[in-house]
Symmetry: C2
DNA sequence: TGCTTATATAAGTATTTAATTATATAGTAA
DNA sequence: TTACTATATAATTAAATACTTATATAAGCA
Protein backbone atom coordinates (compact mmCIF):
# COMPACT_ATOMS: atom_id res chain seq x y z
CA UNK A 1 0.00 0.00 0.00
CA UNK A 2 2.68 2.45 -1.01
CA UNK A 3 1.00 5.16 -3.06
CA UNK A 4 -0.63 7.45 -0.55
CA UNK A 5 0.22 10.33 -2.83
CA UNK A 6 -1.72 11.50 -5.87
CA UNK A 7 -0.17 12.31 -9.24
CA UNK A 8 -1.22 15.90 -8.66
CA UNK A 9 0.57 16.14 -5.32
CA UNK A 10 3.59 14.20 -6.55
CA UNK A 11 4.08 16.44 -9.56
CA UNK A 12 3.87 19.55 -7.38
CA UNK A 13 6.56 18.23 -5.08
CA UNK A 14 8.76 17.08 -7.95
CA UNK A 15 8.43 20.50 -9.55
CA UNK A 16 9.69 22.09 -6.33
CA UNK A 17 12.57 19.62 -6.10
CA UNK A 18 13.30 20.09 -9.80
CA UNK A 19 15.07 23.36 -9.11
CA UNK A 20 18.76 22.84 -8.40
CA UNK A 21 19.08 25.27 -5.52
CA UNK A 22 15.93 24.06 -3.78
CA UNK A 23 16.94 20.44 -4.20
CA UNK A 24 20.33 21.19 -2.71
CA UNK A 25 18.71 23.09 0.15
CA UNK A 26 16.54 20.10 0.98
CA UNK A 27 19.48 17.74 0.92
CA UNK A 28 21.47 20.10 3.10
CA UNK A 29 18.61 20.27 5.58
CA UNK A 30 18.76 16.51 5.75
CA UNK A 31 22.28 16.88 7.15
CA UNK A 32 21.29 19.51 9.69
CA UNK A 33 18.92 22.41 10.15
CA UNK A 34 20.20 25.71 8.82
CA UNK A 35 19.66 29.39 9.35
CA UNK A 36 18.70 31.68 6.47
CA UNK A 37 22.00 33.52 6.82
CA UNK A 38 23.85 30.24 6.36
CA UNK A 39 21.99 29.52 3.14
CA UNK A 40 22.90 32.99 1.95
CA UNK A 41 26.56 32.11 2.39
CA UNK A 42 26.21 28.69 0.81
CA UNK A 43 24.52 29.81 -2.41
CA UNK A 44 25.41 32.33 -5.07
CA UNK A 45 22.02 33.95 -5.15
CA UNK A 46 20.62 36.94 -3.27
CA UNK A 47 19.07 36.78 0.18
CA UNK A 48 15.57 37.45 -1.18
CA UNK A 49 16.01 34.59 -3.63
CA UNK A 50 16.89 32.31 -0.72
CA UNK A 51 13.84 33.51 1.21
CA UNK A 52 11.58 32.84 -1.74
CA UNK A 53 12.85 29.31 -2.23
CA UNK A 54 12.40 28.58 1.46
CA UNK A 55 8.87 29.97 1.41
CA UNK A 56 7.89 27.67 -1.44
CA UNK A 57 9.27 24.66 0.39
CA UNK A 58 7.44 25.76 3.52
CA UNK A 59 4.18 26.39 1.68
CA UNK A 60 4.08 22.73 0.67
CA UNK A 61 4.94 21.73 4.23
CA UNK A 62 8.28 20.15 3.35
CA UNK A 63 10.20 22.30 5.80
CA UNK A 64 9.39 24.19 8.96
CA UNK A 65 10.79 27.32 10.51
CA UNK A 66 11.81 28.10 14.04
CA UNK A 67 12.41 31.70 15.00
CA UNK A 68 15.26 32.37 17.38
CA UNK A 69 15.41 36.07 18.01
CA UNK A 70 16.11 37.69 14.71
CA UNK A 71 17.29 34.44 13.18
CA UNK A 72 15.10 31.92 11.47
CA UNK A 73 16.16 28.29 11.38
CA UNK A 74 14.70 25.92 8.87
CA UNK A 75 14.51 22.16 9.18
CA UNK A 76 12.98 19.21 7.39
CA UNK A 77 9.38 18.67 8.45
CA UNK A 78 9.36 14.94 8.94
CA UNK A 79 5.74 15.10 10.04
CA UNK A 80 4.72 16.20 6.57
CA UNK A 81 2.46 13.69 4.88
CA UNK A 82 4.75 13.82 1.85
CA UNK A 83 7.88 13.26 3.86
CA UNK A 84 8.28 9.56 3.00
CA UNK A 85 8.04 10.43 -0.68
CA UNK A 86 10.59 13.22 -0.33
CA UNK A 87 12.92 11.24 1.93
CA UNK A 88 13.02 8.46 -0.60
CA UNK A 89 14.27 10.88 -3.24
CA UNK A 90 16.75 12.66 -0.99
CA UNK A 91 18.29 9.35 -0.03
CA UNK A 92 19.43 8.90 -3.63
CA UNK A 93 21.30 12.19 -3.71
CA UNK A 94 24.93 12.91 -2.88
CA UNK A 95 25.47 13.94 0.71
CA UNK A 96 25.91 17.67 1.30
CA UNK A 97 27.32 17.43 4.78
CA UNK A 98 30.93 17.92 3.75
CA UNK A 99 29.98 20.93 1.69
CA UNK A 100 28.34 22.56 4.68
CA UNK A 101 31.30 21.68 6.85
CA UNK A 102 33.96 22.85 4.42
CA UNK A 103 32.23 26.16 3.87
CA UNK A 104 32.46 26.83 7.60
CA UNK A 105 29.10 28.53 7.68
CA UNK A 106 27.81 29.07 11.14
CA UNK A 107 24.90 31.03 12.42
CA UNK A 108 25.89 33.56 15.07
CA UNK A 109 23.05 32.67 17.35
CA UNK A 110 24.24 30.30 20.05
CA UNK A 111 22.33 28.43 22.69
CA UNK A 112 24.24 30.60 25.15
CA UNK A 113 23.05 33.87 23.75
CA UNK A 114 19.51 32.56 23.82
CA UNK A 115 19.76 31.35 27.40
CA UNK A 116 21.18 34.65 28.56
CA UNK A 117 17.94 36.40 27.71
CA UNK B 1 27.11 3.62 -2.45
CA UNK B 2 23.74 4.84 -3.60
CA UNK B 3 24.32 8.30 -5.05
CA UNK B 4 25.63 7.73 -8.55
CA UNK B 5 23.68 10.78 -9.64
CA UNK B 6 24.75 14.40 -9.33
CA UNK B 7 22.56 17.19 -8.00
CA UNK B 8 22.65 18.68 -11.46
CA UNK B 9 21.41 15.52 -13.14
CA UNK B 10 18.87 14.81 -10.41
CA UNK B 11 17.33 18.27 -10.62
CA UNK B 12 17.03 17.97 -14.40
CA UNK B 13 15.18 14.69 -14.10
CA UNK B 14 12.96 15.96 -11.30
CA UNK B 15 12.12 19.02 -13.37
CA UNK B 16 10.97 16.74 -16.20
CA UNK B 17 8.94 14.59 -13.81
CA UNK B 18 7.56 17.70 -12.14
CA UNK B 19 5.09 18.22 -14.96
CA UNK B 20 1.84 16.37 -14.33
CA UNK B 21 1.32 15.03 -17.84
CA UNK B 22 4.91 13.85 -18.23
CA UNK B 23 4.88 12.20 -14.82
CA UNK B 24 1.66 10.40 -15.71
CA UNK B 25 3.12 9.34 -19.05
CA UNK B 26 6.14 7.82 -17.33
CA UNK B 27 3.96 5.95 -14.84
CA UNK B 28 1.76 4.69 -17.68
CA UNK B 29 4.81 3.48 -19.55
CA UNK B 30 5.71 1.51 -16.47
CA UNK B 31 2.49 -0.44 -16.98
CA UNK B 32 3.10 -1.04 -20.67
CA UNK B 33 4.64 0.60 -23.69
CA UNK B 34 2.32 2.92 -25.55
CA UNK B 35 1.91 4.37 -28.99
CA UNK B 36 1.77 8.13 -29.56
CA UNK B 37 -1.81 7.80 -30.78
CA UNK B 38 -2.75 6.16 -27.50
CA UNK B 39 -1.26 9.01 -25.51
CA UNK B 40 -3.26 11.41 -27.65
CA UNK B 41 -6.43 9.64 -26.58
CA UNK B 42 -5.42 9.44 -22.94
CA UNK B 43 -4.61 13.11 -22.45
CA UNK B 44 -6.54 16.28 -23.03
CA UNK B 45 -3.75 18.04 -24.87
CA UNK B 46 -2.94 18.25 -28.55
CA UNK B 47 -0.87 15.72 -30.47
CA UNK B 48 2.06 18.12 -30.86
CA UNK B 49 2.03 18.70 -27.11
CA UNK B 50 2.25 14.93 -26.60
CA UNK B 51 5.13 14.71 -29.08
CA UNK B 52 7.01 17.48 -27.35
CA UNK B 53 6.67 15.87 -23.93
CA UNK B 54 7.86 12.55 -25.32
CA UNK B 55 10.81 14.19 -26.97
CA UNK B 56 11.93 15.77 -23.71
CA UNK B 57 11.72 12.44 -21.95
CA UNK B 58 13.62 10.82 -24.79
CA UNK B 59 16.27 13.55 -24.85
CA UNK B 60 17.21 12.69 -21.28
CA UNK B 61 17.21 9.00 -22.17
CA UNK B 62 14.33 8.08 -19.87
CA UNK B 63 12.30 6.53 -22.66
CA UNK B 64 13.03 4.99 -26.04
CA UNK B 65 11.07 4.79 -29.25
CA UNK B 66 10.43 1.94 -31.60
CA UNK B 67 9.02 2.68 -35.01
CA UNK B 68 6.50 0.23 -36.39
CA UNK B 69 5.45 1.44 -39.79
CA UNK B 70 3.87 4.81 -39.32
CA UNK B 71 3.37 4.22 -35.62
CA UNK B 72 5.88 5.03 -32.93
CA UNK B 73 5.84 3.09 -29.70
CA UNK B 74 7.49 4.45 -26.61
CA UNK B 75 8.74 2.46 -23.66
CA UNK B 76 10.71 2.98 -20.49
CA UNK B 77 14.45 2.82 -21.13
CA UNK B 78 15.55 0.64 -18.27
CA UNK B 79 19.12 0.76 -19.55
CA UNK B 80 19.27 4.49 -18.79
CA UNK B 81 21.84 5.30 -16.15
CA UNK B 82 19.18 7.29 -14.32
CA UNK B 83 16.64 4.49 -14.43
CA UNK B 84 17.13 3.35 -10.82
CA UNK B 85 16.57 6.91 -9.65
CA UNK B 86 13.44 7.24 -11.78
CA UNK B 87 12.10 3.80 -10.95
CA UNK B 88 12.38 4.55 -7.28
CA UNK B 89 10.13 7.58 -7.74
CA UNK B 90 7.64 5.89 -10.02
CA UNK B 91 7.21 3.09 -7.51
CA UNK B 92 5.71 5.57 -5.08
CA UNK B 93 3.02 6.69 -7.51
CA UNK B 94 -0.50 5.35 -7.98
CA UNK B 95 -0.74 2.68 -10.65
CA UNK B 96 -2.08 3.85 -14.00
CA UNK B 97 -2.82 0.44 -15.44
CA UNK B 98 -6.56 0.55 -14.75
CA UNK B 99 -6.77 3.98 -16.35
CA UNK B 100 -5.19 2.69 -19.52
CA UNK B 101 -7.44 -0.36 -19.48
CA UNK B 102 -10.66 1.51 -18.76
CA UNK B 103 -9.99 4.01 -21.50
CA UNK B 104 -9.81 1.15 -23.99
CA UNK B 105 -7.08 2.82 -25.97
CA UNK B 106 -5.47 0.54 -28.46
CA UNK B 107 -3.05 1.17 -31.22
CA UNK B 108 -4.30 -0.07 -34.60
CA UNK B 109 -0.99 -1.62 -35.51
CA UNK B 110 -1.08 -5.35 -34.95
CA UNK B 111 1.65 -7.91 -35.18
CA UNK B 112 -0.38 -9.34 -38.03
CA UNK B 113 -0.39 -6.19 -40.09
CA UNK B 114 3.34 -5.96 -39.61
CA UNK B 115 3.97 -9.56 -40.59
CA UNK B 116 1.89 -9.24 -43.74
CA UNK B 117 4.39 -6.81 -45.16
C1' DT C 1 15.55 56.77 21.11
C1' DG C 2 18.23 55.61 16.79
C1' DC C 3 21.34 52.20 14.47
C1' DT C 4 22.32 47.69 12.91
C1' DT C 5 21.27 43.07 11.60
C1' DA C 6 18.29 39.26 9.85
C1' DT C 7 14.59 38.16 7.21
C1' DA C 8 10.46 38.86 4.37
C1' DT C 9 7.86 41.09 0.90
C1' DA C 10 7.02 44.02 -3.23
C1' DA C 11 7.85 45.21 -7.76
C1' DG C 12 9.96 44.54 -11.98
C1' DT C 13 12.31 41.72 -15.56
C1' DA C 14 14.27 38.19 -18.44
C1' DT C 15 13.98 33.43 -19.26
C1' DT C 16 11.65 29.19 -19.48
C1' DT C 17 7.90 26.49 -20.36
C1' DA C 18 3.67 24.28 -21.91
C1' DA C 19 0.46 24.96 -24.76
C1' DT C 20 -1.61 26.21 -29.38
C1' DT C 21 -2.10 26.30 -34.69
C1' DA C 22 0.08 25.53 -38.98
C1' DT C 23 3.06 22.86 -41.63
C1' DA C 24 6.41 19.22 -42.81
C1' DT C 25 7.72 14.41 -43.09
C1' DA C 26 7.02 9.78 -43.84
C1' DG C 27 4.58 5.41 -44.21
C1' DT C 28 0.38 3.02 -46.24
C1' DA C 29 -2.99 2.23 -49.49
C1' DA C 30 -6.18 3.43 -53.35
C1' DT D 1 0.48 9.15 -58.85
C1' DT D 2 -2.87 10.95 -55.14
C1' DA D 3 -4.94 10.65 -50.74
C1' DC D 4 -4.87 9.44 -46.01
C1' DT D 5 -2.88 8.59 -41.53
C1' DA D 6 0.62 9.03 -37.80
C1' DT D 7 4.03 11.70 -36.05
C1' DA D 8 7.36 15.50 -35.76
C1' DT D 9 8.75 20.18 -36.17
C1' DA D 10 8.17 25.30 -36.55
C1' DA D 11 6.34 29.43 -35.04
C1' DT D 12 3.82 31.80 -31.78
C1' DT D 13 1.85 33.01 -27.36
C1' DA D 14 0.46 33.20 -22.56
C1' DA D 15 1.71 31.90 -18.17
C1' DA D 16 4.99 30.53 -14.84
C1' DT D 17 9.35 31.03 -12.81
C1' DA D 18 13.77 32.46 -10.83
C1' DC D 19 16.10 36.08 -10.32
C1' DT D 20 17.16 41.10 -9.26
C1' DT D 21 16.83 45.70 -6.55
C1' DA D 22 14.28 48.31 -3.36
C1' DT D 23 11.73 48.44 0.69
C1' DA D 24 9.33 46.79 4.87
C1' DT D 25 9.33 44.39 9.21
C1' DA D 26 11.08 43.11 13.41
C1' DA D 27 14.54 41.91 16.82
C1' DG D 28 18.85 43.26 19.38
C1' DC D 29 21.84 46.74 21.01
C1' DA D 30 24.22 51.49 21.67
Amino acid sequence: MKPSISMEQASKILKLLGERNRLTMMKMLEARSLCVCEFVELFNISQPAISQHLRKLKDLGLIQEEKKGQWVHYSINSACEYYPFVKNILDSLPDQFEIIKNSNVQCNVSEDSMLRK
